[in-house]
């Protein structure tokens, strides 16, 4: 197989996600409406509570990060979800395709959508709440976004793994996992206020480190971004490996057939 053939296998997931998204009016809700509503709500709450600019930056960073994470992870989860909903999983998995083709292709689309959401939300938060998203410099933004996309891809893969292991009813994981992230990784509050066991759990989640890194540009203490990126990469590699194992397991158990019926 030529490298162009391999690239096109990767691009197949990007292509499918792009076509389905552009045909679906609700994509706009996913991409603009809900992230925007989230940002405005949180921003207005800071106004109501009359908090300082540093606190506004703290919570808006969290709101923006959560929106990007949700968008990008769902794009990776869509590699199975779209097929699951149209009962066409079989068509994908009788083809000579591997897990990484699907994940990288979907991730590419997730990155494009994630960057678009980031730009929209950053512009809106600057205009409405005076939040300067470039205070830490362009490199900070790039590292933060890259880490978020890698983390999102891992979450998306966990959704796919859940579906392959437990069947269609596990698709709820697509909306649940980012909620759990919100709770324990300090999206709207510092993780230091979490109960002890949850603080330990928060240290195992890359988003915690990414948020600390981005917020450090606004005067919120130290960060351990290298550790965060390393954990994110480790999870990414592990998720990819487990996804491939889950695909093979679904072939053994017959789940692959049941998901197509």
């Amino acid at each position: 197989m030529s490298w162009r053939g391999e690239l096109n296998k990767v691009y197949s997931a990007t292509y499918k996600n792009w076509i389905i998204s552009k045909r679906n009016a609700f994509t706009l809700f996913e991409l603009v409406f809900w992230p925007f509503i989230g940002l405005i709500s949180i921003g207005l709450l800071t106004r109501f509570l009359e908090v300082g600019d540093d606190m506004v930056a703290f919570v808006l960073v969290g709101a923006i990060a959560l929106s990007i994470l949700q968008i990008s992870q769902i794009d990776v989860a869509y590699i199975l979800l779209f097929d699951l909903w149209s009962k066409s999983i079989k068509q994908t998995f009788v083809a000579p395709i591997r897990g990484y083709h699907l994940v990288l292709g979907a991730m590419l689309f997730g990155v494009i959508r994630g960057v678009a959401v980031f730009l929209v939300l950053a512009a809106a938060s600057r205009h409405l709440f005076g939040f300067d998203f470039l205070a830490g410099g362009v490199v900070t933004v790039i590292v933060f976004l890259a880490g978020t996309f890698i983390t999102a891809a891992s979450i998306g893969m966990v959704v796919c793994i859940s579906i392959l292991l437990f069947g269609q009813r596990a698709d709820v994981a697509a909306w649940t996992l980012s909620g759990i992230m919100m709770l324990v990784s300090g999206v709207y509050y510092p993780v230091s206020i979490l109960p002890g066991p949850l603080q330990i759990l928060s240290k195992s989640i890359p988003l915690t480190y990414l948020l600390e890194y981005y917020r450090s540009a606004y005067g919120y203490g130290d960060h351990q971004i290298l550790l965060g990126i390393a954990i994110a990469l480790l999870y990414f590699a592990a998720s990819l490996l487990i996804l491939n194992l889950a695909i093979e397991r679904a072939r053994r158990t017959g789940m692959m057939l049941r998901l197509s019926e």
Binding site: S86, S88, Q91, F93, A95
Partner: protein, 307 residues
């Protein structure tokens, strides 16, 4: 070298309380260039076997060679050279016919002009030109079936698996689909493995047939071999006017079954030749209005084997 060789393939599916075994020691060999049918009643394991052959799912036990490769290890290389089309097919709903075919071609690593050419050829071969920009969800059952068949030839497979390709189609569309299958088979010089419920279809298309019942291979051979092996009798019907003694028919050597209807008798007999003259003699005293003899068909084989 056979296109496919299966040895003692077994498969179970996990149930709530215990596993359900759906295939028991299936062994068969499919030669290159033949159209091979897998028949059997509902629940016989046809689709499961087809899914194993096409590497979609893995067997629990046994060995499987496809195109000379070990299908349990070299799955990726095998998938490059096979394809499958299923009855009642599904593709992403909101993609058009052309987009679905492009997406499928990408999954097979096609690119550039060869991708576009293959998609155009598939659209043309299955007369999907006027629907090429229609979303999959808006197509009729027959059109969806044709999209599935078009997708199955994109990568020019060496083995084409067709799982109930005419399922849910009206007779005219089913006939067209069978013609398309014959055309692909002839033009592409490939091996075709198909499952069907419809016996005339199997009789029309298949060189050899494997018959499954409750997960077991109960017969294997050409349609003619199966009929001979099962000693399925010929059918004779006689329409008559007058009175006859049915007992005289039942005692004729070679008559296996007699069914009486008003003014008509239907019988099954072995084709010894002497039975026919004896049957006609038994109608002495009545006027024979019409008489006909039918050879057994695959439907009879199916009914016999499904019992």
């Amino acid at each position: 070298m056979p296109a496919l060789r299966a040895e003692k393939i077994t498969k179970s599916f996990r149930g709530l309380f215990k596993d359900k075994k759906v295939l028991f020691d299936i062994s068969l060999s499919i030669e290159e260039g033949e159209i091979f049918g897998i028949l059997g009643p509902n629940g016989a394991g046809k689709t499961t076997l087809m899914s194993i052959f096409s590497t979609l799912i893995r067997p629990d036990g046994g060995s499987l060679e496809v195109l000379g490769r070990d299908a349990l290890r070299d799955t990726h290389a095998i998938r490059e050279r096979i394809n499958i089309s299923s009855g009642n097919p599904n593709f992403p709903w909101s993609l058009t016919v052309r987009e679905n075919l492009r997406h499928s071609a990408m999954l097979y690593g096609m690119y550039g002009r060869s991708l576009s050419k293959s998609v155009d050829e598939a659209i043309s071969a299955f007369e999907l030109g006027s629907q090429s920009d229609a979303k999959f969800e808006t197509l009729s059952t027959g059109q969806k079936q044709r999209v599935s068949l078009a997708k199955s030839i994109l990568n020019r497979p060496k083995i084409l698996f067709l799982d109930e390709p005419t399922s849910g189609l009206d007779p005219e569309m089913a006939m067209k689909t069978r013609d398309l299958i014959k055309r692909i088979y002839q033009e592409e010089e490939i091996t075709v493995v198909l499952t069907t419920h419809y016996m005339p279809e199997a009789e029309e298309l298949c060189d050899r047939i494997a018959f499954l019942r409750e997960g077991r291979l109960v017969a294997l051979g050409t349609p003619a071999e199966l009929k001979r092996a099962l000693q399925i009798g010929h059918r004779i019907f006689v329409n008559y006017d007058g009175e006859i003694d049915p007992l005289k028919l039942r005692i004729i050597p070679g008559v296996m079954e007699v069914r009486e209807l008003p003014g008509r008798v239907e019988m099954v007999f072995d084709h010894s030749g002497r039975a026919v003259s004896s049957i006609i003699k038994a109608f002495e005293g009545a006027d024979i209005l019409d008489i006909g003899i039918e050879e057994p068909d695959l439907e009879d084989v199916f009914l016999e084997l499904a019992r």
